[in-house]
C-alpha cells in the first residue's frame, strides 16, 4: 500500500508541477462557463445579425433558449474536453519509458502492477474531478438563468459520457503496455475508438458498444430511457476491467 500511495503522490506532484492540473482546471471550468454563456448569447447574436440576415431573405423570429440549449452545448463541448484530457495524459507511461525514469524505482522493488494501478487511479481521479466540475458549473449557471427541470435524466446522461472517458483512460493504459511511444498510444486509442464507432453503425450490435454512450445526451430531451443504455454500460464496465488486466499482464513483461 505504501508503494502505491508513494507512486500516486509522485503522479500528483508531477501533474501539479508540470502544469497539467492548471490546464485541466482552466479547461473544465472554462467549458463549464462557456456552455450556458453560448446559450445565453445566442439570441442576442441572432438579433444583431437579423438585419443582415433579412437582407438575404432569412427572417429571424424570437429565439427561445432554456437549460436544454445549455446542456446541448455541454454535450458538444464534452468530447473536446475529453480529447484534450487524453492528449495531455496519453504519454503518462511512454514518457517514463522514453526517459528511463521507471528503472530506478523498479530496481528498488516497486511492483509493476502498482505502476499501472497508480496511473489508472490518478488519471481516473483527474477525469472524475474535471468532468464533474464542468458539470457542476454548467448546472449552477443553468439553475440561475433557467430551470434544469427542463432536461430529463440529467445526471444519468452525463454519467454515460463520463463512463466513456473512463473506458478511454483504460485504453491508454492497455495501449501503453504494448506501445513504446506516445504517438503509438494515441494511434492505438484513436484507432480502437474509430473501430468501435464504425461497428456502432451496424444496428444489431450498436447498443452493446461503448460508443453508444455518446447518444445518451438524447435522454435530456426526453428521447429514450436510461434502460436503453444498460447493455452499453455493462459492456463498457467489463471492457474497462479487461483493459486494466491486459495492461498489467503485458506490462509485467515490458522492457523498460
Amino acid at each position: 500500500m505504501r508503494q502505491l500511495t508513494a507512486f500516486m503522490r509522485k503522479e500528483w506532484l508531477e501533474s501539479v508541477r508540470t502544469g497539467k492540473v492548471t490546464i485541466l482546471l482552466l479547461l473544465f471550468i472554462g467549458f463549464g462557463i462557456l456552455n450556458p454563456a453560448i446559450a445565453k448569447l445566442t439570441p442576442r447574436l441572432l438579433t444583431l445579425m437579423s438585419e443582415s440576415l433579412s437582407e438575404t431573405g432569412l427572417s429571424v423570429s424570437a429565439v427561445k433558449v432554456d437549460a436544454l440549449t445549455s446542456w446541448a452545448q455541454f454535450y458538444k463541448n464534452a468530447p473536446l474536453g475529453l480529447i484534450v484530457f487524453l492528449l495531455v495524459f496519453s504519454g503518462t507511461l511512454t514518457n517514463e519509458y522514453l526517459k528511463g525514469t521507471l528503472i530506478n524505482l523498479v530496481t528498488k522493488g516497486l511492483r509493476r502492477w502498482k505502476i499501472i494501478a497508480s496511473k489508472g487511479i490518478v488519471l481516473a481521479a483527474f477525469w472524475t474531478a474535471g468532468y464533474w466540475l464542468c458539470y457542476v458549473v454548467t448546472y449552477g449557471y443553468n439553475a440561475y438563468f433557467w430551470d434544469n427541470g427542463a432536461a430529463a435524466h440529467l445526471f444519468f446522461s452525463a454519467f454515460c459520457f463520463y463512463a466513456l472517458g473512463i473506458w478511454l483512460i483504460s485504453l491508454i493504459l492497455a495501449m501503453s503496455a504494448f506501445f513504446g511511444s506516445g504517438s503509438g498510444v494515441m494511434l492505438g486509442v484513436g484507432g480502437s475508438f474509430l473501430i468501435v464507432y464504425l461497428l456502432g453503425l451496424l444496428p444489431r450490435i450498436a447498443e452493446y458498444l461503448p460508443a453508444y454512450l455518446l447518444n445518451a445526451s438524447n435522454l435530456t430531451t426526453g428521447n429514450g430511457q436510461p434502460a436503453d443504455y444498460a447493455a452499453a454500460i455493462a459492456v463498457t464496465s467489463v471492457w474497462i476491467v479487461l483493459n486494466v488486466v491486459l495492461a498489467v499482464l503485458r506490462f509485467n513483461r515490458k522492457l523498460l
Binding site: R2, Q3, T5, A6, F7, R9, K10, L13, E14, R17, T18, K99, G100, T101, I103, N104, L105, V106, T107, K108, G109, L110, R111, R112, N252, R253, L255, L256
Partner: protein
C-alpha cells in the same frame, strides 16, 4: 555464500548471441570489475541480474535467491546505478529519496535520516533545487545516494563513470570505495584505470564470454611468463643511443628513452651492471607492470 552467482547464462538478440554461457560469482564485500568493450554484453548481463531482461538459458542468483524476469523481489537486495540515471526533474533530491525510501518499504524515520546522511556523503546536502537543473555529475552522485538508500547487500553500477569528466569520475570511484565497507559492488566499465584503482576482482568480457577473470594479481600474473619489460631514460639522446645499440630488441620511446624486454628476471642485474660499467647516467630506470589495457588488448586480439 556468494552474493551473486551466474551459471551458464545465455542471451541472444535476433539470433545473435550477446551473452554466451556466462558463469561467474562475486564474493561478499569485494569490488568486482566487469570489463569489456562497448557491445561486449555488460549492460545486457546487468539487466538480466536486475530482472529487467529475460535470460534465454541459465540461472542467476542474488544473495541465494533466484532472479525471475519481470518480478522485482530479488531487487530488494540490490542497489542499482545506471550509466545515465534518470530522475523526475520536477522533484528535489530530498523528495526523490523520500519516494525511493517508501518504495523500498523503509520506515519513514529511517528513510529520512538515511537520505540526509547519503546526501551529505555525495555532497548534495545543500542542493534543494529541482533535479532538472542538475549536471551529469550531480545526477550520478544522486544516483549513488539512491542506490545505497536501503543499505543493499549488492550494489550494481553500469558504467558509472563513463559519461563523467575526470573530477566527477574521481568522486564516483571514491564513493564506490566507501561503499565497499557496507556492501558488495559490481561495476561494469571500459575504463581500465578505474578497475586498477578500486577493484579486488575483475572479469574480462569479450563477445559475451569471460576470457579472463580473478583477482587483479592473478590476471596480471598470467602474463608474467614473459621477461620483465624495462624503461630506461637518460639525460642525453647520445647515451640512449649507446645503450640501445647493445640490445637488439630495444627501441626508443622518446628522444632519450629506451624500452626493452629482458630475457628473464636474472637478466635485470646484468643490465644495471652494464649501465654502471659504461658510466651512463640514468635519469629513470623502471620496471613496467603490464597495464590492464595491455592485457586486454592482447586477450582481445587473441
Amino acid at each position: 555464500m556468494n552474493m551473486l552467482t551466474l551459471s551458464h547464462v545465455c542471451k541472444s538478440f535476433g539470433g545473435r548471441p550477446v551473452v554466451d554461457d556466462l558463469s561467474f560469482s562475486v564474493k561478499p564485500h569485494t569490488i568486482f570489475g566487469f570489463i569489456g568493450q562497448n557491445g561486449a554484453g555488460k549492460t545486457t548481463t546487468m539487466k538480466m541480474i536486475l530482472g529487467l531482461l529475460a535470460a534465454d538459458r541459465g540461472n542467476i542468483e542474488v544473495n541465494g535467491e533466484q532472479v525471475a524476469f519481470g518480478r522485482t523481489r530479488t531487487n530488494r537486495h540490490i542497489g542499482y546505478l545506471s550509466d545515465v540515471p534518470e530522475f523526475y526533474g520536477f522533484m528535489t533530491p530530498g523528495e526523490y529519496l523520500e519516494l525511493c525510501g517508501k518504495i523500498a518499504r523503509m520506515a519513514p524515520s529511517q528513510a529520512r535520516s538515511k537520505s540526509a546522511e547519503l546526501l551529505k556523503l555525495v555532497g548534495l546536502d545543500g542542493a534543494d533545487t529541482r533535479i532538472q537543473g542538475f549536471s551529469r555529475g550531480m545526477k550520478q552522485r544522486l544516483g549513488m545516494a539512491q542506490a545505497l538508500l536501503n543499505d543493499p547487500p549488492l550494489l550494481i553500477c553500469d558504467e558509472p563513470t563513463s559519461s563523467l569528466d575526470p573530477l566527477g569520475r574521481k568522486e564516483i570511484l571514491e564513493l564506490m570505495l566507501l561503499a565497499k565497507n557496507r556492501t558488495t559492488v559490481v561495476f561494469s566499465t571500459h575504463i581500465l584505470s578505474d578497475v586498477e584503482r578500486i577493484c579486488d576482482e575483475a572479469a574480462f568480457l569479450h563477445q559475451g564470454r569471460i576470457i579472463r577473470g580473478g583477482t587483479l594479481e592473478e590476471i596480471r600474473a598470467a602474463r608474467r611468463e614473459d621477461g620483465p619489460e624495462l624503461e630506461v631514460e637518460f639525460y642525453s639522446a647520445a647515451d640512449a643511443e649507446r645503450f640501445k645499440a647493445r640490445f637488439s630488441a630495444a627501441r626508443m620511446f622518446s628522444l632519450s628513452g629506451v624500452r626493452l624486454e629482458a630475457q628473464d628476471e636474472e637478466a635485470v642485474p646484468g643490465i644495471l651492471e652494464m649501465l654502471a660499467r659504461e658510466r651512463l647516467p640514468v635519469r629513470r630506470f623502471e620496471r613496467l607492470e603490464p597495464t590492464l589495457e595491455d592485457l586486454f588488448a592482447e586477450m582481445v586480439r587473441g
